[in-house]
Symmetry: C2
Subunit: 205 residues, 2 copies
Amino acid sequence: MDAKQPHQLTRKGRATRQRILTIAAAQMFRNGVAGTTTDDLQRVGGISPSQIYHYFGDKKSLVKAVIAVQTESVLRIQGPLLSRLDSFEALEAWRDAIVDLQQARRFEGGCPLGSLAAELADHDAEARADLAAGFARWEAAIRDGLVAMRDRGELSPDADPDALALAMLTAVQGGMLMTQIRHDTVALRTVLDAVIDRIRVHIRA
Amino acid sequence: MDAKQPHQLTRKGRATRQRILTIAAAQMFRNGVAGTTTDDLQRVGGISPSQIYHYFGDKKSLVKAVIAVQTESVLRIQGPLLSRLDSFEALEAWRDAIVDLQQARRFEGGCPLGSLAAELADHDAEARADLAAGFARWEAAIRDGLVAMRDRGELSPDADPDALALAMLTAVQGGMLMTQIRHDTVALRTVLDAVIDRIRVHIRA
DNA sequence: CGATTATTGGAGCAATTAATCTATTTTTTA
DNA sequence: TAAAAAATAGATTAATTGCTCCAATAATCG
């Protein structure tokens, strides 16, 4: 799909490819794409340049694969929380999970997808498209949670899950960035509470 | 304050310094800090490396000065709009100004402060502090507008201008980033409307 | 087993980058 | 106007970067 496929991968090859991806994703999350060099991967993971270019062809393709990895990672973490949005308390638990994660990261790194987007969106059209698709899936997961709530009658029929989900995702992005800037989670918590309060209006006792 | 001061600046020197700052700010907004090189400034503005290092000492100091320039620029644009927040219509006008600006920029570049923050916050403590201070001033401008509304009786006394202002600023940041990613202003408009609706609840007829 | 193919190490390259140095011109000042 | 200081051009440098190449090793398969 997204990687160079010039030859068959052996078991060992697949393992190496995966190891490169994992380390590259972590490194790009910490230091950005531009701040991640072949030398870094060499130092941190003992990965030789020839390995990187054997499995990914060029840096742009590696970045593309990292975007895919981070997208799946975010959805894997968010999915379970969002599919169980069966009460106002569940919304608060979801908010707390995000806030606590940023706290645990000591306010460094922002959103794994949002940070990549800020760096790449303007100058890598393909990356932007992939990231937009990832955000669309995230948005859909939030919306589905709200729709399920509405279908079960916990949310009044006049609630607009589309608008609320998009607002929520956008609020998360702003909140994560503000966390990085302020080195606290106040702004993140405040903006999430603001959007949650808009949902609360529609909650049925 | 923030620049190397090894000698007195003449009128010509001040003009050159200012020209470097203007061009560097524009270039870093377009291409990021890492994406802006001495060669770029040379090509775009005919600025020789010796001029840059004569007036700013090193790149980090230039970046610091660019942060100051962008902060003043944002506050200069936002200030007048925020100090006239005397009605719900004024809030909508402020929202439209932000949305229209991103539209005019064709969805490229995000927020001039937010983009710098995303790139620098984790690896330049001084830059992060300056940006945090800039955002605090922006937040204060929003809050002052809301407080004035409340003092004039247009907002009910139980409105919380602090929380609303912080949520609003954070929503703007998320919305600007989403604009870059999605190449439309829907998310920006939606999240701003969500926060504005929270303010609307407190508006007195 | 033996041939083919995949994997890897590591030297090395061309281009780029932040920053420096020297020499020259321009401006200010006394 | 002459000396001092400031501004500038442009060549240069040391380090870094993305990437390539070749030779050697390991895995797979008929």
